[in-house]
C-alpha cells in the first residue's frame, strides 16, 4: 500500500487533515516557517513528505518558503506552503508574482486574531479581503473556505485541482479553531482519490509551438499546461515584469492592459465553473443567512431553530469566496425579506454580500464576532429581529 494515502477512518486534527489532503492531491513539495496556529502543518509535513517521496524544507523566513515553493512549481512539482496572518502578509509579494506568471500554487492560511501579532491561538476571519487584495497589482486568485476536518482533507484536493486547471495561486482559509478541531476523517482508497485528482498537465505539442502563458484564441482564453524548467517547454526568458503570452517583456500600457485583463478574465469569466455554494432550506425562505467557514455550522443550527419557531429561514453557504459568487448570492437573496451575515470579523465578505443584496433591494445585517465562534442564539436573535 502506498504510504502517500492513508486510506481508512481516522480522528484527525484539522491541520493534519489538511496535510493528508495535500499529499493525497499529489503535493510533493512543502516549504514553511513556524507560526502559531499552523505549526501542526509543517510538523506533520516533515514526517509525511519523505514517506510520500516528496520534499519538506523549513526555510529561513515566510518569503523564502513561498519563493522555494514557486521554484519547485517551476520545475513541475505540485507545491504548497502554509502560514497564518502575519506570515501571509509577508508572502503577498510572491502570491502576486505567482499570479502574474501563472504558476500553480496552494497557500494555506490558518487565520488567527489580528491586527498585529494579535492573539495566536484564537480564530478571526480577518484575512478574507487580504486573500483577494493582498498583493500588489491587479489579479485574481481562488479562495476556498472549508468548515470541518473532513472538508479540509477533501478541499485540499479541490484546491490543487483549481491551481492546476486555472494556473493561479489558490488560498485555503482555515482558522485557529478549525485547525485544531479533532474530528472524524474518512480517507477513501487511492483509486478513488486518483480519479478526483487533476495531475500536472504536460505539453504534448512540439516545443517550438508551445505558448507558456494564457492566450486568446478565437475569442476564447486558452490556459496552456504550465512551463517546466529543465524541459524544452519553458520560455527562454520568464520575466516577473509585464509580459505577453510568449514571455517576452512588454513594458507599455497596451501590453499591461492585455495581461491584467487576461489574468482577471480567466477567473471572473469562468465563475460558473469555479464557484461552489451550498443551499439549505432556501426554497421557501424569507430570511437568508449567508455564511462561510465555521460560522456556517453555527448558522445551520440557528436556521433549524428558527424553523422550529416558525420563521422561514434559509442558509446559503459560500464554499469558494473568491471569485465572489455573485450569481449564487443574487439568486439566493432575490425576493427575500432580509439577509443575515454572521462573520468572525467586523464585516469583510459582508461588503460583497451587501453589495449583491443591495442590487436586489434586500437589506443585509451583519452579526460580527471576534476571537470566538458565534453562539447559535446570537444568529437566531438577529433572524428573529429581522423577521419581525
Amino acid at each position: 500500500m502506498s504510504k502517500a494515502i492513508l486510506t481508512g477512518t481516522h480522528v484527525m486534527m484539522g491541520n493534519h487533515a489538511m496535510v493528508e489532503g495535500a499529499i493525497a492531491a499529489g503535493c510533493r513539495f512543502f516549504a514553511g516557517y513556524p507560526i502559531t496556529p499552523q505549526n501542526e502543518v509543517p510538523e506533520r509535513m516533515s514526517e509525511r513528505m519523505p514517506e510520500a517521496g516528496g520534499t519538506f524544507i523549513q526555510m529561513e523566513d515566510e518569503i523564502g518558503s513561498i519563493a522555494a515553493c514557486i521554484g519547485a512549481s517551476l520545475v513541475g512539482v505540485k507545491a504548497m506552503t502554509s502560514s497564518s496572518g502575519p506570515g501571509i502578509c509577508l508572502k503577498q509579494e510572491c502570491i502576486s508574482w505567482a499570479a502574474s506568471v501563472e504558476i500553480p500554487l496552494v497557500i494555506a492560511n490558518v487565520q488567527r486574531t489580528g491586527p498585529g501579532s494579535g492573539i495566536v491561538s484564537l480564530p478571526h476571519h480577518g484575512d478574507m479581503m487580504q486573500a483577494r487584495f493582498g498583493g500588489n497589482g491587479d489579479y485574481q486568485v481562488i479562495t476556498i473556505v472549508p468548515a470541518s476536518s473532513q472538508e479540509l482533507f477533501d478541499m485540499m484536493i479541490d484546491a490543487f485541482n483549481y491551481a492546476e486547471i486555472w494556473r493561479v495561486p489558490v488560498i485555503v482559509m482555515s482558522d485557529a479553531f478549525l485547525g485544531h478541531i479533532l474530528e472524524k476523517v474518512v480517507i477513501p482508497s487511492a483509486d478513488e482519490i486518483n480519479k478526483r485528482v487533476v495531475q500536472r498537465r504536460k505539453p504534448t505539442i512540439e516545443p517550438a509551438k508551445y505558448v507558456p502563458f494564457t492566450y486568446e484564441d478565437k475569442g476564447q482564453l486558452v490556459i496552456p499546461p504550465p512551463p517546466v524548467m529543465g524541459s524544452p517547454y519553458f520560455p527562454a526568458w520568464m520575466p516577473s515584469v509585464t509580459h505577453n503570452e510568449r514571455g517576452i517583456p512588454i513594458l507599455d500600457e497596451r501590453g499591461s492592459y492585455k495581461m491584467v485583463q487576461k489574468l482577471c478574465d480567466k477567473i471572473v469569466k469562468n465563475e460558473d465553473k469555479i464557484v461552489k455554494t451550498e443551499s439549505y432550506y432556501l426554497d421557501d425562505a424569507d430570511i437568508v443567512v449567508v455564511a462561510y467557514g465555521l460560522p456556517f455550522r453555527t448558522s445551520l443550527r440557528a436556521v433549524r431553530e428558527a424553523r422550529k419557531k416558525g420563521i422561514k429561514a434559509g442558509l446559503l453557504r459560500l464554499v469558494t469566496v473568491w471569485p465572489f459568487p455573485n450569481k449564487a448570492v443574487s439568486a439566493a437573496v432575490e425576493g427575500k425579506k432580509a439577509v443575515v451575515v454572521p462573520e468572525i470579523n467586523f464585516g469583510q465578505m459582508f461588503i460583497e454580500i451587501e453589495r449583491a443584496a443591495a442590487k436586489k433591494c434586500v437589506p443585509a445585517h451583519l452579526v460580527p464576532q471576534i476571537s470566538k465562534l458565534h453562539e447559535p442564539k446570537e444568529i437566531l436573535s438577529k433572524i428573529e429581529e429581522v423577521a419581525k
Partner: protein, 284 residues
C-alpha cells in the same frame, strides 16, 4: 575620434544568446562602460566551451540592471523577485536534483534585501552557483548607496558621502558555509571564465563575486567621469590573494582581494535529502 564602422560585423556569440536567435543580432541595454555585457559573454563562453545543456543549468535572475541579462545569455532564465534568488533556486534544486541553478544577483539584491536567503543557502550548501554582481550602487533605481558602497563615497542617497562600512560578501559566504568562494572583476575575464567552469563542475554552493564598473552612477558621482576611470579605480583597488599575504593591514584597507578564497567539501543538501527520503520510505 574612433571612425565609425559602416557595417557591423556579426557577433561570434550572437547565435547562442536569446536576442541573437530572436532578433538575429545580440542586443543588450546596458550603459556604455558597464561590466555586465562582459560577464554575459563570459557565461556564454562557458556554455559553449563546456557544451552545457541550457535546460540543466537554469539561470535564476534577481532584480537590478542585470535583470536584462537574459537578452544576452544562453539557455533558460527565470527572473524572480528582488532578493529571492537563493530561495527560488533552493526550491528548484530540491524539487529536481538533476538541475544545477545558476543564480545571478546584485549587491542590493543579495546583500541587502536577500541577505538571509543568501546566508542560509550557504549554510545548507545547496548545489548551485551563486554569482554576485558587485557594482557599488543600486544602478537600476538611479544610483542609491548599496551595502557595498565604500565609506565616504557619494551616491544619490549619500550626497555628503556614505557614513557606513560596506560588507565583504566573500567573508559572509565563507562564514555562511559556502564550499567554493572566489572574487574576480569584470576586467579579469580569463580567470573568471576558468572559475565559473570550475564552480559548475563542483557539488555544493559555489559563490563567485564579480566586481563590475558602473560609470553612469558610481563613476559620475565620484569624479570618475569616463568608464576607463572606474576600470582603473577597480584595478588599483584589486590585490591578488597571494600578493596580499605579504602586505600589512593598513596597506590592505579598502582593497578588494582577488582570487579563490575557499574550496572545501561538505555534505550537499539535495543528496542528503534523497538519503533521508529513502530511509523514511524504508521505515527506518
Amino acid at each position: 575620434m574612433i571612425p565609425r564602422v559602416a557595417e557591423k560585423p556579426e557577433h561570434p556569440l550572437g547565435k547562442y544568446v536569446y536576442t541573437g536567435w530572436l532578433l538575429g543580432e545580440p542586443r543588450h541595454i546596458f550603459c556604455p562602460g558597464c561590466g555586465y555585457g562582459t560577464i554575459a559573454q563570459a557565461l556564454t563562453r562557458v556554455f559553449i566551451d563546456e557544451k552545457l545543456d541550457g535546460k540543466k543549468y537554469p539561470f535564476v535572475i534577481g532584480i537590478g540592471c542585470y535583470s536584462a541579462l537574459p537578452a544576452v545569455l544562453p539557455g533558460y532564465s527565470v527572473m524572480v523577485l528582488h532578493g529571492r534568488v537563493p530561495a527560488v533556486a533552493t526550491g528548484m534544486k530540491l524539487a529536481n536534483p538533476e538541475l544545477k541553478p545558476i543564480g545571478i544577483s546584485g549587491d542590493g539584491d543579495l546583500l541587502a534585501i536577500g541577505t538571509s536567503h543568501f546566508l542560509h543557502a550557504c549554510r545548507r550548501n545547496v548545489d548551485m552557483l551563486l554569482i554576485l554582481l558587485h557594482n557599488n550602487v543600486y544602478g537600476m533605481t538611479g544610483g542609491q548607496v548599496a551595502p557595498t558602497t565604500p565609506t565616504t563615497f557619494r551616491a544619490t542617497t549619500a550626497p555628503y558621502g556614505y557614513a557606513e562600512t560596506p560588507f565583504d560578501a566573500c567573508e559572509l559566504a565563507i562564514v555562511g558555509g559556502a564550499t567554493y568562494v572566489a572574487r574576480w572583476s569584470s576586467i579579469q575575464v580569463q580567470p573568471l571564465v576558468t572559475s565559473i567552469k570550475k564552480a559548475l563542475k563542483r557539488k555544493g554552493l559555489s559563490f563567485i563575486e564579480i566586481v563590475s564598473p558602473c560609470p553612469t552612477y558610481f563613476g559620475r558621482k565620484n569624479k570618475m567621469a569616463e568608464p576607463i576611470d572606474v576600470f582603473r579605480w577597480i584595478k588599483d583597488k584589486s590585490v591578488k590573494i597571494e600578493k596580499a599575504k605579504g602586505m600589512s593591514k593598513e596597506e590592505l584597507a579598502g582593497k578588494y582581494l582577488i582570487g579563490e578564497f575557499v574550496e572545501r567539501e561538505r555534505p550537499e543538501l539535495s543528496e542528503m535529502y534523497r538519503k533521508l527520503i529513502t530511509a523514511a520510505q524504508e521505515g527506518k
